[in-house]
Amino acid sequence: MKKYEQTDHTADIGLKIFGNSLLDLFANAGYALCDTLTDISKVSPCTKQTFCLQRDSTEELLVEWMGDLLYIFETEGLLFNRFNIKSINKNSLSAEAEGEFFNSAIHTIKNGVKAVTYHKLKIEEKNGLWQAEVVLDI
């Protein structure tokens, strides 16, 4: 099962993210964001960061999670490649992500992502398969 695909959007980047469970969907959302920023296959899991997030809905939680990964990259230069969602419910998420600090000799920047938006934000579940749609502001 593929983790995500890019969808057409005139000025920005649309992401369609897939998962076998909500935990899987959120892990793949982290992967999709970091793979949009860089070639994720070049990132090694050298350092770990924990996340405890709270929002009013699962959709908002998804934006918060991806937004936090982007914020950490922008302020600390940390890129992630492994995502372990420990628990999730409608309002809160607990997760760990592993990755390494950006090194221009190893990593390339594929896209400059300004923000994770709420535009056309959607999470759906059908027959146990989860799908989310997120638009990244480029």
Binding site: Q6, T7, D8, H9, T10, A11, D12, I13, L37, R55, D56, E59, E60, G67, Y71, E74, T75, G77, F102, T108, I109, K110, N111, G112, K114, A115, T117, Y118, H119, K120, L121, D137, I138
Partner: protein, 402 residues
């Protein structure tokens, strides 16, 4: 967007520049040599941090200093040696939106904003050297000090990560506010609150901080553009006389007075992908532009043209003093990448005489000329509609991209 002009460069050199909610332009006479052009593009790329994570080691801000930037905008930059007091007169709202309240800007926004002041960013942000290839209104162009063949430089950048964080923080508050005020939302990104509510007023005060950061950012970059020209052309500032033509926003909400159904009313005008286009004699137009109206810079794409327009009365009557802000995309980023497969965009532009330096190939491909509409057609539409007047057209010579 910001524009600057240098009026009496030695012999072949004359400059203009402009900037808006993230851009600046300047120009030299067409006679500029390829050698100098290449050196200028390289110099700009070296002096102006471009692309993700780039910063100048010589510009470090404390939280306290950043607070002053958020409050004072372009004036902070001038006070700290970036540009001159004369620049301030040619910036929308003199480079400072009043009622900015830095205490409403989050710690996260400060953290993002600190290392990024004086950086170009990525995406559609750029610095472009161009020359004036056509003048449509000789009289207005003359009043702006512009002539055929003159070299121009424009800069397009904005409030960077600080602005996105202000947006992100505000959305969280506005999602709650929309519920509180029983506003039904067609899309979460359109969350809102009544402008006179506490949430609405707090947002305007935080947004003003982001706008002031953007004014300061362009003012700093404009200064480095001047320095680069001085270094590469071995000329002193007095000889170059690079003056700011205008700096205008294209993504901001402003409280303005407009006539609605025959009555003067205070309204909140949100120009998102739109540029202010105030007419001659408007109180907000600088004194030396009162006769011609407010200058407007419309960037096209890096392979074709950009335009200089001025505001009109009709824009006040029909569009709350607003006009277009650019060419607009024709292809999605995904389509652009597909269309560029197997092509050397750098070479294609170089064959047209345009030198490009970009921090990443992806940006260059996504921003290639074919990905955009023809700006000439877009400008013709707004000119025919009467919501702006065509003054001059610029053709690019060199571009730096994030």
């Amino acid at each position: 967007m910001t524009w600057m002009k240098a009026s009496s460069l030695p012999e072949e050199l004359d400059t203009i520049s402009t900037a808006g909610s993230g851009s600046l332009k300047q120009a030299f006479k067409r006679k500029i040599s390829q050698k100098h052009l290449k050196a200028l593009v390289s110099g700009l790329f070296f002096n102006i941090p471009s692309g993700i994570g780039s910063k100048r080691k010589d510009l470090k801000l404390s939280n306290k200093e950043l607070e002053k930037v958020l409050e004072h905008g372009a004036s902070w930059a001038v006070k700290n040696g970036f540009g001159s007091q004369n620049d301030i007169l040619h910036i929308e709202d003199n480079g400072k939106i009043e009622k900015a309240d830095p205490s409403l800007v989050s710690e996260k926004a400060y953290k993002r904003g600190q290392p990024q002041l004086g950086t170009l960013g990525s995406g559609n942000h750029f610095v472009e050297i161009a020359y004036i290839d056509e003048i449509y209104d000789e009289n207005t162009a003359a009043q702006l000090g512009l002539k055929q063949g003159q070299i121009t430089v424009s800069v397009h950048t904005g409030s960077r990560g600080l602005g996105y964080q202000v947006c992100d923080d505000s959305i969280k508050k506005m999602l709650k506010a929309a519920q509180k005020y029983n506003i039904s939302l067609p899309d979460r990104q359109l969350c809102c609150a009544p402008i006179n509510s506490k949430e609405g007023q707090n947002y305007l005060a935080a947004m003003a901080c982001a706008a002031n950061y953007a004014f300061a950012n362009r003012q700093i970059i404009g200064h480095w553009v001047r320095e680069t020209f001085e270094q590469v052309l071995a000329a002193n500032p007095r000889d170059l006389k690079m003056e700011l033509i205008y700096d205008v926003c294209h993504n901001i909400a402003k409280i303005e007075e407009h006539t609605v159904e025959g009555k003067k009313r205070k309204v909140c005008v949100h120009r998102k992908g739109a540029t202010r286009a105030f007419p001659p004699d408007h109180s907000q137009v600088p004194d030396d532009y009162k006769k011609i109206g407010q200058p407007i810079l419309i960037p096209g794409d890096m392979g074709r043209y950009s335009h200089l327009l001025t505001g009109t009365e009709k824009a006040m009557d029909e569009t709350f003093g607003s006009t277009c802000h650019g060419a607009g995309r024709l292809m999605s980023r995904k389509q652009a990448k597909k269309a560029a497969k197997g092509r050397a965009i750098y070479r294609e532009l170089e064959d047209k005489g345009i030198i490009v330096k970009a921090a990443g190939r992806t940006t260059l491909v996504e921003e290639m000329p074919d990905a955009y509409k023809d700006v000439n057609m877009v400008v013709d539409v707004v000119a025919k509609a009467g919501i702006a007047k065509k003054v001059a057209r610029m053709k690019p010579l060199g571009v730096i991209k994030g």
